[in-house]
């Protein structure tokens, strides 16, 4: 019977306990080890296989609420890609905040490297419509993004001229919240055959295992 009493604890006490539990490691980090899981290792190896000059599309498909989970992933992936001298095309499909996060994070990471905008990387910004731009990029990325995030025309940018559609892209990496990672897998991977990797929030993780198993996703991303 005693255990039943737990059901009637004031929820505010639970909130307080959770807050204390969350605050302690922030105020005084306890140094837990970070061990890469098999899917993470797989994505790392896929990036290692890329040759300098290969093109990767990086999609920021999350808003501010998922930043704590996905920002570290985007930073780690961008650093790895730029270290491999891979060209990166940044896009955003999530409407609220994705593009702002992309602008900030891309600026932060690219400043650590000697890169030329429009040649080594480009931030194409946000496009509305979900699957519609995803599908249209299979024909022409430039048609979907005639201008970059700063409204500069993409015509004449070497990276955009050279990477015409998914056929010229080695891997699409999406940092996704909600359903968008699923679209990249069952639309872009399935219909255009390009490798897709998803860095997802923990809440979406279980559903991606099915895609990982069936080979529709090269890796689920960082955990």
């Amino acid at each position: 019977m005693k255990i039943q009493k737990l059901l009637y604890i004031d929820r505010r006490i639970i909130y307080l306990l959770v807050a204390i539990g969350a605050l302690i490691p922030i105020i005084r980090p306890i140094g837990l080890p970070v061990v890469p899981s098999a899917p993470v290792q797989g994505l790392f190896e896929r990036v290692e296989e890329l040759e300098p000059g290969d093109a990767v599309m990086l999609s920021f498909d999350y808003g501010p609420s998922s930043e704590p989970e996905l920002n570290p992933m985007s930073a780690a992936i961008m650093r790895h890609l730029f270290m491999r001298e891979v060209r990166v095309m940044v896009v955003a499909i999530f409407p609220l905040g994705g593009v702002q996060i992309a602008i900030r994070e891309v600026a932060r990471i690219t400043s650590e490297f000697d890169l030329e905008y429009g040649v080594d990387y480009v931030n194409l910004g946000y496009k509305d419509g979900g699957q519609a731009p995803m599908k249209a990029m299979g024909v022409s990325i430039q048609d979907v993004f005639p201008a970059d995030v700063e409204t500069t025309p993409t015509e004449g940018m070497p990276i955009v001229e050279d990477v015409r559609n998914y056929g010229d892209i080695e891997v699409v990496i999406t940092l996704a919240t909600g359903i968008i990672g699923e679209w990249w897998a069952n639309l872009v991977n399935a219909q255009f055959g390009v490798d897709v990797a998803v860095g997802c929030t923990a809440v979406s993780a279980p559903k991606y295992y099915a895609y990982l198993r069936s080979g529709q996703m090269i890796q689920r991303g960082l955990q």
Binding site: G63, L96, G130, D168, T177, G178, I179, P206, K207
Partner: protein, 376 residues
């Protein structure tokens, strides 16, 4: 005299080149080059095929006229026998030839072409998807036709459906409102459409009982469609005068701003019943938990698998996945919805049989069913 000398030198050079050519052809590792448009693609590429053997590299050369300047565009291993040249302009003639670097000489193969790349209408390797789509269409149309003709199509009653009527009844008894949340995705999501047909059933009940209902929206298109739906339900229930436009409101487009507004509404207005039916994401637990904390009866329904655990935990009844569609068909008795559910059941049965047969056949060492289902 000078002219005669030039002619003689030219003849000697041509003969020498011819000698080298015939000598080269005998050692050339690849022959019979063919250039054709890559089948089943979106254009912009040409497939090259040749007969070849050995592990020597051959260079692939391309020009836009048979006598034009050939440039090297790539290389391949002779025994591979194929190469795909991509990033071409459609409707342009291209000519190809293979070259083989033998020592200091480069031996040239015969010119193939002209070949043009073009956009193909069909991807022939997706026949399986086409067959399944066609089958689905035929089944849906035939079941919908049967339903329209009045044939009774059996769909088992979902146990949660009676909970809907009870929940509306409870709100009526308590004299408090019903909050109906149609999910956060747009009309392009089938769940939203199913939710709207359940909304129609619920609003007919509220019209009959005179219970207050509110439908807060995140998506502008769903907002207009939901208003139409509720209005229509009140008209069908014979109570158009009771319909108020404020029953269906628009809040905001941001997921969490919407969740914050709806939870605040729950806490302030304390509805007796919450319906959370449609497509939900991370806001599902926030909504369901707040609803539970105010003691409302909660009926949820979604096909978003990751969100189902929260609804199962925090709601009184949950329509799991496809039950949502079946419930909307059952309640509305719409021939289109009923026919679709029946057709889906048949497709499910076909998939079960196919997969079952595939497993048995695989045990005997054949991959045939897996190959039939292969997509790219």
């Amino acid at each position: 005299m000078r002219t005669s000398c030039l002619v003689i030198i030219s003849i000697v050079l041509v003969l020498a080149a011819g000698g080298a050519w015939s000598q080269g052809m005998s050692g050339f590792p690849a022959t019979e080059l063919r250039a054709v448009d890559t089948p089943s693609d979106g254009g912009g590429s040409i497939d090259l095929e040749w007969e070849g053997e050995g592990l020597q590299f051959v260079l692939i050369m391309r020009a836009t006229s048979p006598g034009g300047e050939f440039e090297t565009i790539g290389d391949a291993i002779a025994s591979d026998g194929s190469y795909t040249d991509m990033r071409l302009d459609d409707q342009t003639d291209y000519y190809y030839r293979l070259a083989y670097p033998a020592g200091e000489d480069t031996l040239l193969g015969a010119v193939a072409g002209p070949a043009q790349s073009k956009t193909n209408w069909f991807r022939s390797y997706r026949k399986n998807a086409l067959v399944l789509t066609a089958l689905m269409f035929i089944l849906v149309i035939s079941y919908v036709t049967q339903a329209r003709k009045g044939k009774r199509l059996f769909i088992r009653r979902i146990s949660g459906l009676s909970a809907i009527d009870e929940a509306v009844g409870r709100a009526t008894e308590m004299g408090r409102k019903i909050l109906y949340i149609p999910g956060i995705l747009s009309l392009s999501e089938i769940q939203t459409i199913a939710s709207l047909s359940i909304l129609q059933h619920v609003s007919k009940l509220t019209a009959v009982y005179g219970t207050d209902i509110e439908v807060p929206n995140k998506d502008p298109l769903v907002f207009s469609a939901a208003r139409e739906t509720v209005k229509q339900a009140y008209m069908e229930a014979g109570r158009p005068d009771q319909f108020k436009e404020e029953m269906v409101t628009y809040l905001t487009y941001d997921q969490f701003a919407y969740a914050a507004s709806v939870t605040a509404k729950m806490v302030r207005e304390r509805p007796a019943t919450n319906f959370l039916i449609g497509s939900f994401f991370a806001e599902s637990l926030i909504l369901a938990e707040t609803g539970q904390s105010i003691g409302a009866i909660q009926i949820a329904g979604t096909a978003d698998i990751p969100q189902l655990p929260f609804f199962v935990t925090a709601c009184d009844y949950t329509l799991l996945g496809e039950e949502l569609y079946a419930a909307s068909a059952y309640l509305s008795k719409e021939p289109v919805l009923l026919g679709s559910i029946k057709a889906q059941d048949v497709v499910k049965a076909i998939i079960m049989v196919t997969v079952g047969a595939g497993i048995v056949i695989l045990a005997f060492g054949s991959n045939i069913v897996r190959d039939v289902l292969f997509t790219r």
